[in-house]
């Protein structure tokens, strides 16, 4: 394997891991606060749908992003209501949210676009223009044509070339690594990676983080210290919603150009697995999701392994990331201890 191949695989791994990382961090906030969240998948899906829908209707990806965040937050609110306010079963609530998102996205999508739950492709062209026309008309009526033009400029996230990428390219190893792997992703990738140290800093260096971790370990300690358990948990669930929102928006407007039903394809569950793998720690989340991304990138790159006598079937290569995960888990990762109060609603009086 030459350097170029390695770089390409790493580049692919970065893209593949980003939605996982965002969702994994979302789960981290929620579960660190003691609220289990198996609804990551649903929230991502809802975000992907709302982001793509608004981006398609307005032609503006930033409005789409905001809509994605709102869509995901809405489901977070449902989860919070069920598992914090009404002290319901957090697993059931998560399951319900996954179903809800899977149904609502297609239902609404069909109602709005009539494309069977798909949104129009977010590439400039006839399909998109007819969708955005009413909005742009409405907008230019209010703000004048200039603003409307600007607003409708980018229906999709574009890749960013980091400064000096080309200048540094000749530097051996580091140069191509910087130019090909680190540079050239959409903004949400950088946001996702920045979220790792930020999350670490929030968790371990701020008052909010201290309380958040405490409420996931022993909510009574937080309560008797005069801090509202409910507010903290809602805050955590809301942050989880925002991060899932980013993840979903990235799927629909960054990695692809539009929404397709069920397009999260189980990534929420993989993120959940990564979270446990990471032992509920931010840097661990980075490592775990990178591992998943890398395994998938490698499997994509080598779809049939020709071993001379036998050719390993494609199905085996598809399953390889999962098999390796199990092996790594069994071999190298010890027992993961979840936050002690995780999954338990905080009940004072019975």
């Amino acid at each position: 394997m030459d350097l170029n191949t390695i770089l390409q695989i790493l580049d692919s791994a970065v893209r593949l891991m980003t939605p996982l990382l965002l969702a994994c961090l979302a789960g981290l906030y929620s579960e660190r606060a003691g609220v289990f969240d198996i609804g990551l998948e649903g929230k991502m899906l809802m975000a992907a749908f709302s982001a793509a829908t608004v981006a398609a209707l307005t032609g503006n990806v930033w409005l789409g992003l905001v809509a994605g965040l709102l869509g995901s937050l809405m489901l977070s609110a449902v989860h919070g209501l069920a598992s914090i306010t009404f002290r319901g079963n957090q697993l059931i609530s998560g399951v319900a949210i996954n179903f809800l998102a899977s149904g609502l996205t297609v239902l609404l999508g069909q109602k709005i676009f009539g494309l069977g739950g798909r949104t129009p492709s977010l590439t400039p062209g006839a399909e998109l223009d007819t969708q955005t026309a009413p909005f742009r008309g409405w907008l230019s009526g209010i703000t004048g044509p200039d603003t409307a033009g600007w607003l409708a400029a980018a229906p999709r996230l574009t890749d960013i070339t980091l400064p000096l990428a080309e200048t540094l390219r000749p530097v051996p190893v580091v140069g191509p690594l910087y130019a090909d792997v680190i540079s050239g992703h959409s903004i949400l990738v950088y946001v996702a990676f920045a979220m790792v140290p930020l999350t670490w800093w929030i968790l371990y260096r701020t008052r909010f983080g201290l309380r958040l971790r405490a409420v996931g370990e022993n909510p009574a300690s937080v309560d008797t210290a005069g801090v509202s358990v409910t507010r903290l948990r809602f805050a955590a669930v809301a942050i989880a919603g925002l991060l899932c929102g980013l993840a979903g928006a990235y799927l629909a407007t960054g990695l692809s150009a539009g929404f397709v039903k069920e397009m999260t394809a189980g990534r929420g569950f993989i993120a959940l697995a990564a979270l446990i793998f990471a032992k509920w720690r931010p840097w661990g989340a980075l490592g775990a999701t990178f591992l998943f991304g890398l395994l998938e990138a490698v499997a994509n790159r080598y779809p049939n392994l020709d071993l001379g006598i036998v050719t390993v079937p494609s199905m085996f290569m598809s399953a390889l990331p999962y098999i390796l995960t199990v092996i790594i888990l069994a071999g190298f990762v010890g027992r993961a201890i979840p936050p002690r109060a995780g999954g338990e609603p905080y009940v004072k009086e019975r």
Binding site: R205, R207, A214, N218, G226, V227
Partner: protein, 537 residues
């Protein structure tokens, strides 16, 4: 020490009371935990509250601290009415509380636990460094030393409690509520705590102390209130009352405060332990060569500060040593060797060999809190032939058995369908004791049988243990309560740092002598220079 409330207590003056509760009521669903309670605590005094398990003491204090909301009633702090809707309000009003079950975050450091909820600003660093300074000051002022960077789960319970007290002091509490603080403390620790409380009182702080130990009430409080079944039945000056009177007020009948027992008549050896060593999963040597003999018809008491290997000893004898530990040595039960490791070393096997076990922690080990009482009566013996046929269990047989046991042990309420969680601590303990004693084991291992249990129940449990001994059974009693060890044991062994420091007969032993042994000093070898403990009455 003699009670001297007159000299310490301040006469009630017209000055507003530190705390005044008027007509507090609180129901948990159908349970009326507090009913129309009035309470007045003067500033600068120590006020004791006693009452049976489940009398409503913790509930009342939790209301005062804003943890529960009362259904009715009024709270006055320093004479001014105050609606305490949450703990934040209570803290601001200068109230601090050390809960019966600590409210600490186990995997946080001491410092993090202290500042939690009382941080200065959004960032932790300044809060932590400030707290570190204040903590040092508090430690000097009150002799409350704890390593601020230690993780709480690595601290002994005594130290955890210090953290709770420091938490309250850090928040500048003027009124400090302590709910059964001595239940988990060694005598030395309890003693230390009382010195601190006296110091706090001298500063003009007000203290409310809940305890089941009348000796403590008599020793330190100025006034005392007695609760029974959710009601306040008396509030008296400590000087004007006696332990017997308090016990009667509490339980509603006369209580024998001392164990009555005939001299032991030891028979053949039941348990022989030779050179038992144990290294735990972290490589720490917990037991360093234990030799023990227990005969039929005797109670061997093991005294010692908790954390000196007693837990490990009980677990190994009980057949479930810590995972990953390495054990060597020999154990013989009724003359037959007992495996100390491998698949044959398990708790079920031990029970078959006639070893019963009342574990130290009834809620974590001894009971399944969500199981009904009758299921808990079968717990550990669910394989017994009389509890079923083949693979299935015979519910009726178990329930009949459970009902009988519950009746004999006066468990209240006497319903075997209630989940263990819904019994009070004392009654939970009675279920465990009933289960283990009634199997009539040749050897009964007992850990902390009366921790947090009210005096009525203590009396009962003690009597049953003595009865078992008199029936010719061997008993290994581990307790941190020296009083309990002294009054129940026929022989006393003192454990320190994984070794048996020495053996005494209860008649010859003084608490001072035992205290030295518990601290790792053999008094016979080095004559005592100073008492670590005050002599108890």
């Amino acid at each position: 020490m003699t009670p001297g409330a007159q000299t310490r207590g301040r006469p009630a003056t017209a000055a507003p009371a530190a705390i005044e509760l008027r007509g507090i009521s609180k129901a948990f669903g159908p349970v009326q935990a507090n009913r129309d309670i009035d309470l007045r605590v003067e500033k600068g005094t120590i006020h004791g509250i006693i009452g049976e398990n489940g009398a409503g003491k913790s509930t009342l204090m939790s209301i005062l601290y804003g943890f529960y909301k009362p259904d009715a009633g009024e709270i006055l702090v320093g004479g001014r009415p105050l609606t305490i809707a949450d703990s934040q309000t209570a803290i601001r009003a200068g109230i601090g509380m050390v809960f019966q079950h600590f409210k600490l975050v186990q995997n946080f450091t001491v410092l993090e636990n202290i500042i939690l909820g009382a941080e200065d600003g959004r960032l932790l660093r300044p809060s932590l460094s400030k707290a570190r300074g204040v903590l040092g000051q508090l430690a000097r002022d009150y002799e409350l030393n704890v390593d601020p960077d230690e993780t709480v789960e690595d601290l002994s319970v005594g130290h955890q409690q210090r953290v709770e007290i420091l938490k309250a002091l850090y928040r500048q509490a003027d009124i400090l509520i302590l709910d059964e603080p001595t239940g988990v403390l060694t005598p030395a620790e309890a003693d230390h705590l009382f010195r601190i409380l006296e110091g706090l009182r001298a500063e003009g702080k007000t203290i409310i102390l809940i305890t089941h130990k009348l000796r403590e009430i008599m020793e330190i409080t100025d006034t005392v209130s007695v609760m029974r079944r959710g009601e306040m039945v008396a509030s008296v000056s400590t000087a004007e009352t006696s332990p017997e009177q308090l016990a009667e007020l509490m339980v509603g009948r006369k209580v024998l405060l001392n164990v009555q027992k005939a001299p032991a008549r030891p028979g053949r050896p039941i348990l022989e332990v030779r050179g038992l060593r144990m290294v735990d999963g972290d490589g720490v040597e917990r037991l360093r060569g234990i030799d023990l003999d227990i005969r039929a018809g005797e109670i061997l008491g093991i005294a010692g500060v908790s954390g000196n290997g007693q837990t490990q000893l009980l677990e190994i004898l009980g057949g479930y040593p810590e995972k990953g530990s390495a054990i060597s040595g020999a154990i013989r039960m009724n003359g037959a060797p007992v495996p100390v490791a491998g698949a044959a070393c398990n708790a079920a096997e031990r029970r078959r060999q006639g070893i019963g076990h009342i574990p130290e922690d009834r809620q974590v080990e001894g009971l399944i809190m969500d199981f009904a009482a009758w299921e808990n009566v079968a717990f550990g013996y669910h394989d017994a032939p009389e509890y079923g046929r083949g693979l299935l269990m015979d519910r009726d047989a178990i329930r009949r058995d459970a009902e009988a046991k519950i009746k004999r042990f006066d468990v209240r309420p006497p319903t075997c369908d209630l989940a263990a969680r819904n019994f009070s601590g004392g009654n939970q303990q009675k279920i465990v004791v009933a289960r283990e004693i009634e199997r009539n084991p040749d050897l009964l291992l007992i850990g902390q049988p009366t921790r947090g249990v009210d005096i009525g129940a203590i009396e009962f449990i003690h009597r049953r243990i003595v009865e078992l001994r008199d029936a010719g059974k061997a008993i290994l009693l581990v307790s941190v309560e020296l009083d309990e060890i002294l009054s129940l044991s026929d022989r006393i062994a003192v454990m320190f740092d994984g070794r048996i420091m020495g053996e005494r007969l209860p008649g010859d032993a003084t608490t001072g002598d035992l205290g030295l042994l518990m601290a790792g000093v053999d008094a016979a070898a080095n004559p005592p220079t100073q008492g670590l403990f005050r002599e108890s009455r």
